[in-house]
Amino acid sequence: MENNGWNEFEIGAMLRSFDGAVSDVATTLQEDRPYSRSNSFTASVADWRIEKPVFNKDYCIDCQFCWIYCPDISIISRDKKMVGVDYDHCKGCAICVEVCPTNPKSLLMFAEQEDEDKVLAEWPTKEKKEK
């Protein structure tokens, strides 16, 4: 949002979540919401990341551990399926990778500048359990 002058915003430093009415937000998916410019959904924290999680759907079992434990609403799940990572809002904490139960993991951290196709092509294979 541009830096408005003192006479150019609503009084009381009040912020609106949406432009216009949303009558059932709890069942309206993000893509269907009329987010206002002051909703942080419209902002990005991508530059916080040094590493990014990359999702490999070949190994995913849609357990949704990554979805529930993601602190940044950055695991996109639709119709009970893991769809991908929201790179505007992911801060790169790697919790999703830690909680992923598949072998090999369906989510792994890579340097921010790594090419996604390249890392998917070189995805590690199944690890033997230790012990």
Binding site: N3, W6, G12, A13, M14
Partner: protein, 406 residues
């Protein structure tokens, strides 16, 4: 639906009852309150109205004054009419939240029954609490008697809730001298009183579930100044026209006239005292007597303390040479607030004025007619001399050696 009360045209009410009756008549949605002397009866009266079906809003008896204003802020942001009452230490405990209420532009009405601030502890009236709130971004009205306390409540709700204003407002009255002194109060019937203020019109209300709003955000160096500037601008430019309009409408309705700056015998006065609260009536009585003796002395009562009525005072003080600023609060290391504000008001004018400061009445000490006669005599001497003939600041009515400064 709350039951109505049949009021006599003139009721014998003290200031507390006058304020609580006004609060009943405007049908507040939420009162969150904590009792403290001398405003306790406002809260008690309101509880009594509730217990007898005269009020159908929520009455939340919280655990502290800070909680009272916190609850009022939450309720007001939710979207409805909100008011409470307090005094002194309770007011002091509320101070943090006063700034939050005004910064969030929530039109809460607070009846402040003025009382001294400890230490030492004191339950009687002076203006220390009123002065403590003067930078908090609220509109501050000052009542001189129970009638004013009643009437100014209606004005306060009407102005505060105006969507162009959306600022909280205090109605001040003097502890005990007004709050506990029963006088004849001309009443307004319930429907007329309610209609004068009108239905509450919500704005940015949290309870509008289709339009979620975020209140009480953080703004740092990149935004904070703009928001404070906006609030200051609205106080400086928008409030007085609305107060004037409300005073006009109120006069039309009741015949009772209020002014942002009340003037008594000021037309060709050489000297005036400027004061607030019950002292105004005492000063006017003395001024009348002195005028009858041929002395040109008048009284200016501040009706609206915030925003400060700079332009109105410049006008009212035209032709006046000597000004006595009467402050009922310990300045603790400087001049009194009224002195400083008045000096700032007149310093750039073309007429040379002599402004002196009298501190009086702390902790409920009486201001007598004898005091005022002495003050007027000194002010007339200043006017005659065209310069101060006394120390700039004097503490009057205090035991011990004469105490004055500068």
């Amino acid at each position: 639906m709350a039951e109505k009360q049949e009021l006599r045209d003139v009721e014998v009410w003290d200031g507390n009852m006058a304020a609580s009756q006004a609060m009943r008549q405007v049908q507040i949605d939420v009162v969150a309150a904590y009792p403290i002397t001398p405003s306790t009866p406002i809260v008690e009266n309101y509880g009594n109205f509730l217990a007898n079906g005269y009020v159908d809003g929520e009455f939340v008896m919280v655990e502290s004054e800070h909680g009272a204003m916190s609850g009022c802020i939450g309720a007001s942001a939710a979207g409805g009419r909100v008011a409470t009452a307090t005094s002194s230490q309770g007011f002091a405990l509320m101070v943090e939240t006063l700034y939050q209420a005004s910064g969030m532009r929530l039109p809460i009405v607070l009846n402040v029954v003025n009382r001294a601030l400890a230490a030492p502890l004191n339950v009687n009236g002076d203006h220390s609490d009123m002065y403590l709130g003067r930078d908090s971004g609220w509109i501050q009205f000052d009542a001189y008697n129970p009638q004013d306390a009643y009437d100014l409540n209606f004005i306060a709700f009407r102005v505060a809730e105006d969507h162009e204003i959306r600022l909280p407002a205090m109605v001040h009255q003097d502890g005990f001298l007004t709050s506990h002194t029963a006088q004849g109060v001309h009443t307004i019937d319930d429907d007329t009183a309610y209609n004068f203020v009108g239905d509450f019109k919500p704005m940015n209300d949290m309870l509008d579930l289709d339009h979620p709003v975020t209140h009480g955000v953080q703004t740092e160096e990149d935004w904070h100044y703009e928001h404070k500037a906006r609030q200051h601008n609205d106080l400086m430019t928008k409030v007085f026209p609305r107060i004037e309009a409300a005073f006009d409408a109120f006069e039309k309705l009741t015949g009772r006239r209020y002014n942002i700056v009340e003037q008594y015998n000021t037309e060709d006065a050489d000297a005036v005292v400027v004061c607030m609260g019950t002292s105004v009536e005492t000063a006017v009585e003395v001024s009348n007597e002195l005028c009858a003796e041929g002395k040109k002395v008048g009284v200016i009562g501040i009706r609206v303390v915030r925003p400060w009525p700079h332009a109105q005072l410049v006008e009212a003080l035209k032709g006046v040479t000597a000004i006595g600023a009467l402050d009922r609060s310990s300045p603790n290391g400087t001049f009194g607030m009224l002195y400083n504000e008045l000096a700032g008001t007149v310093v750039n004018g073309e007429e040379k004025k002599v402004v002196t400061n009298y501190v009086y009445g702390l902790g409920g000490r009486d201001l007598t007619k004898v005091h005022l006669r002495e003050i007027f005599a000194e002010l007339l001497a200043n006017a005659e001399a065209g310069k101060p003939t006394t120390p700039l600041q004097q503490l009057i009515g205090v035991r011990g050696p004469k105490i004055s400064f500068h």
